[in-house]
């Protein structure tokens, strides 16, 4: 009873809280990092160095008036943000933060596929949000956004196939263990795949330079134009949770998860003194930082350029990578 129900439920509770808190601080981090990149200070008023801004923001969003357009579809208008957030959170169930069983909720044998499939559900939140708003621009933006999401999902999934080929397993823990056995992080074995997954991740989370669905400078304000208050906050949470998911997945698939650098080199064994989960979070933090860094640096793609990049560059390269991986795998 304890093992089958209590501990998992506890883990889930802790994880959910951790993720949601992490998301709010992720927002703060983004504001701070971008501010520093632009030689500004960022939020400074709430708490020392604006630390408490992370708490003030959710409070503000929670107490704001919840506006629902009269002609919106009530059921879907409510459902859409939930459909957007839930998959982003569910994915964390199979993300291992460390090698020990304590650090993951479950390790299922199709973990990576699970992540792919559950994130593919997230697109409903966006389409339905656009449709339920019953407003022209959100609808068009949501169709755009979902087309973008689906296109890049294909590219990412294709790329992950080559990683699966390399690792020989679909289990997230198994993939890390495979890296431990081979002694090489897959980022070195599959650099192309890493780049593709990361670019695809940027696009799937609607981040710069692929942030057109939310680009206020352009025609449409995005699928959540009509949303406000807590419903809007849910979309917000989903987006940042997705960023964290992508970072975690990239860390696990390509940079050894909780492994120390060069896990097979005995001479570096002293690095094991640092616990695995610290390694994990350190690496993940690097990717979170890169996400923000890119946003501060790059201009935005145009829609047709974005689709062209996805279909004519990423997908062919991903397919080529699969073939190459297969050939190498067979030859070795």
């Amino acid at each position: 009873m304890l093992d089958t129900i209590v501990i998992p439920v506890l883990k889930i509770a802790v994880l959910l809280n951790a993720v949601l808190v992490a998301v709010t601080f992720m927002v703060l981090l983004e504001r701070k990092v971008i501010a520093w990149a632009q030689s500004r200070l960022g939020p400074m008023r709430v708490g020392p160095y604006g630390v408490l801004q992370a708490i003030a923001d959710p409070i503000k969003l929670l107490v704001k008036e919840d506006i629902r357009p009269v002609r919106a579809d009530p059921m879907l208008f409510t459902l859409a943000p939930i459909l957007s957030l839930v998959p982003a959170l569910v994915v964390f169930a199979v993300v291992p933060f460390g090698g020990d069983e304590l650090f993951y909720v479950t390790d299922i044998n199709v973990g990576l596929l699970f992540i792919i499939s559950v994130t593919s559900i997230g697109v409903y939140g966006i389409i339905l949000a656009g449709w339920a708003s019953n407003s022209k621009y959100p609808l068009l933006a949501s169709l755009r956004a979902s087309a973008q999401l689906i296109s890049y999902e294909i590219a990412v999934t294709m790329t992950l196939v080559s990683v699966i080929l390399t690792a020989g397993t679909l289990s997230m823990v198994g993939i890390v263990e495979a890296q431990q056995q081979s002694g090489l992080w897959f980022g070195f074995v599959q650099p192309v795949a890493f780049v593709l997954v990361f670019i695809g991740g940027l696009a799937e989370t609607n981040r710069a330079p692929f942030d057109l669905p939310e680009a206020e400078q352009e025609l449409t304000g995005g699928f959540h134009t009509e949303y406000s208050g807590m419903r809007f906050a849910l979309f917000f949470l989903a987006e940042y949770a997705n960023i964290i998911v992508i970072s975690a997945v990239v860390t696990i698939l390509f940079w050894g998860g909780w492994l120390r650098p060069f896990p097979n080199v005995e001479a570096l064994a002293f690095l094991d003194l640092i616990p695995g989960w610290i390694w994990f979070f350190a690496k993940m933090f690097v990717f979170l930082y890169i996400f923000i860094w890119i946003r501060a640096t790059l201009p935005r793609y145009r829609y047709d350029q974005l689709m062209r990049l996805g279909w004519k560059v990423l997908i062919p390269v991903a397919i080529g990578n699969i073939v190459l991986t297969g050939v190498v795998k067979v030859l070795l």
Partner: protein, 172 residues
């Protein structure tokens, strides 16, 4: 016991959502119910220890096919209600009655037949289809015994893709 709870819960959800799919007046709602239905079916697959299929169900059905439906529903922005016109010669009631009758008959056959199967001949619930081997075994089967059907299926998909593009393209 746990399986029974899971089964009944899911059965109720699946059937309820199924009914919702075919009864809701708004097409978009219908699609949403369909997605939820498929998600429940996926969970049912997990109960049946077919994790791979569960994931595929979510990925392909919920994440792919139904999104397509949703897209079409949104592209087809109708100027009048889709079911406004009804042909008087429809035999909807007869169809309803017949479906009910067939369901009853089938259920009768099933209950009757399985009731007579001795428990010994029915294999135990915990088969060997557990653990990590499942997905791998399925892969083996697909790429060995069922290789040709698998290839045929892939060709079918290709043809369908080309066909869909040709059909949906605007003449220019």
């Amino acid at each position: 016991m746990a399986e029974a709870i899971a089964f009944y819960t899911l059965a109720v959800l699946i059937l309820g959502l199924g009914v919702a799919v075919i009864t809701t007046p708004k097409t978009v709602h219908s699609v949403v119910f369909l997605v939820l239905n498929f998600l429940c079916v996926a969970v049912l697959y997990v109960v049946l220890r077919a994790e791979f299929l569960a994931v595929i169900q979510v990925l392909v059905y919920a994440g792919g096919i139904v999104v397509l439906y949703l897209f079409v529903v949104m592209l087809v922005n109708l100027k009048r209600a889709p079911e406004a016109h009804e042909d008087p010669r429809r035999l909807a009631r007869l169809g309803l009655a017949l479906s009910g009758a067939v369901l009853l008959e089938l259920a009768g056959i099933v209950v009757y037949s399985y009731g007579r199967v001795t428990p010994a001949s029915a294999p135990a619930a915990a088969g060997p289809l557990t653990g990590a081997g499942n997905t791998e075994e399925l892969g083996w089967l697909l790429y060995t015994d069922y290789l040709i059907p698998f290839e045929v299926a892939s060709v079918l998909l290709l043809v369908a893709m080309v066909g869909a593009i040709v059909l949906a393209r605007r003449e220019s």
